[in-house]
Subunit: 344 residues, 2 copies
């Protein structure tokens, strides 16, 4: 590596700082590029329908640990986590491309397992695998997925549309992917210390599945359409609730009030967090990988969703100057911190 005399470490600048810096000098050449970097997906104008593009990179040792991640599940998750970005634009993914870098130590059967999981997800979500690249890798397994979606121009929901007074909603429950991850890590440590002890995963299926085989919320996008609700802003929860709230607020130039007691947490996940001595709220705020949808709606839509088991109202949008706060279970107001995944 060449290094200049004056250098900056990536730890110092952080992932979001790095992205901001790198993307600040991008020039746009085509009027068809309707939305570039800065949302869940790019938006390209192809006449009546808009094309949405989203891409993710999954690296062994960073995003997954093959010692407990079955390849079929990993393939499934590689697809669903990417589709989630397209659903987060209120759009429908239609195609994916998949590139993989694999060590020559992998067997053909192992690669087939990985692909079987990918194709299982493609069939379940009705997306077409249309291309990719295959390479050997000298290091670990590398998976890069690009999802291509479409939507009518008027249906697309960006990150920047929240207005003061809007309700903040989240789908499903939060934190379980993280407690599932912590459980798997704990059992791995136990196993490494003593291979004769069997992993204790009894009754923990839900949180393990949330980590190993997450679903994308296609059903929510269809339901919102059915309910005739167009969110004012939307994002998927990949880095954690807290970080995603900051994205919505930064894009819309608003503040937010989040109610701790409203955050939906599954009992299995809650109990696991307690057992692991982690604050259950923190698993939702900072855990990430839930792939639930976080969105804002006008208050006038409240009646349509108030009895919906899949959607929970967890806060509301306020003016930017009021800041971003969480009202704790005890009723105290705390500034929320953006504690996303640390990339470096």
């Amino acid at each position: 590596m060449l290094e200049n005399q004056s250098t900056t470490t990536l730890e110092n600048i952080g992932e979001f700082g790095l992205i901001d810096l790198l993307t600040s000098s991008i020039k746009i050449h085509h009027s068809s590029t309707q939305k570039g970097v800065g949302d869940d997906a790019a938006v390209i104008d192809h006449g009546n329908l808009k094309t949405l593009i989203s891409t993710d990179l999954l690296l062994e040792g960073i995003h997954f640990d093959l010692s407990y991640f079955p390849l079929k599940h990993l393939g499934y998750k590689a697809i669903t986590s990417n589709l989630s970005d397209i659903y987060a634009m209120n759009a429908m993914p239609k195609q994916v491309t998949v590139s993989i870098g694999i060590s020559s130590k992998f067997t053909l059967e192992a690669v087939e397992e990985l692909y079987a999981g990918m194709l299982f997800a493609c069939n379940r979500y009705e997306v077409d695998l249309v291309g990719g690249d295959t390479s050997s890798s000298k290091q670990g397994l590398v998976i890069s997925v690009t999802a291509i979606g479409e939507a009518e121009a008027d249906d697309i929901v960006y990150r920047n549309g929240a207005k003061p007074g809007d309700l903040l909603c989240v789908t499903g429950d939060l934190g379980a992917a993280y407690t599932g991850f912590q459980l798997l890590e704990r059992e791995k440590r136990v196993y490494l210390a003593n291979p004769e002890i069997q992993p204790d995963l009894e009754g923990k299926d839900y949180i393990i599945e949330r980590q190993l085989k997450p679903e994308a919320r296609k059903d929510i996008v269809l339901m919102l359409k059915h309910l005739n609700i167009k969110p004012t802003s939307m994002i998927d929860i990949s880095d954690g609730l807290s970080s995603e709230i900051f994205h919505l607020c930064a894009n819309a130039k608003t503040g937010m009030y989040l109610y701790e007691d409203k955050i939906p947490i599954d009992p299995t996940s809650y109990n696991m967090a307690r057992e692991l001595d982690i604050d259950p709220t923190l698993t939702a705020l900072s855990g990430g990988e839930d792939y639930e949808l976080l969105f804002t709606i006008a208050q006038s839509e409240y009646e349509k969703i108030k009895d919906n088991a899949d959607i929970t109202v967890i806060g509301y949008v306020c003016e930017e100057k009021e800041g971003i706060h969480m009202i704790s279970k005890s009723g105290n107001k705390h500034p929320l911190k953006a504690q996303g995944w640390k990339a470096f």
Copy 2:
């Protein structure tokens, strides 16, 4: 890694065998998926204009060696090599997404160099960088680029349209990226053996640039349009002339005659091959990474291209049963072998 009792190594099946096997069970769900795996790019129907998608994965230690590959050049090549796939469909790339996995040992300035090269290519080829993903990597540098292009339906050229009697044409010259690579590898070995010896790259600029900063043939796509020529089939040369000829023949179910003495090889590259004791013809047949376009045209188009300095007729398409042969400089007929890049 889980392994079944009966396993197959990836070396045994090879890259193309692996791709065939993995893609054999793909189901297509959408009529908008006009062309999936099996060409330079996927084709998606978005009304009047078709969208083309192509993706490549570049891994440190496999596709590049940072000890002599300047990051700015690497960024440039990551973009142009991917755009080349879209031009090979006779289409125009309009957008790219870029995902990178970087070690925390990288400095910010190093990442900026990489991006500067990417943006330089984007500006030169007039494509918009619209998204991507940034991650830390525990191993080497990982770069994944997806290019999105567009074309009118009638303009798209696939790999499968060659007809017996068609002329086989190639742009530019071949083999120089490979001789440039071999030269850089030799000088690296010399340097490692004795760091006081300066690399001897005098007068070798052309072949080094072909390796480190390859261009994609946008100019050819524009010229073909200007000449009112639509190739019957086209592919870009990433793996080597021989391998690409096999792709065109397999897709069109034809044979081919290739004339060794017609293969365009630059004198610098020719002399370097001789100096390195490599058959210059082999650098063209198997070297790869030239990113020139290989295409077939009807004989009736010959007059339009015969005096064109950028295009060389190197053979012609024959019936499948005649096979794929090279006529050597001495006039002998040899079966051609597909000696592409060995992925595993």
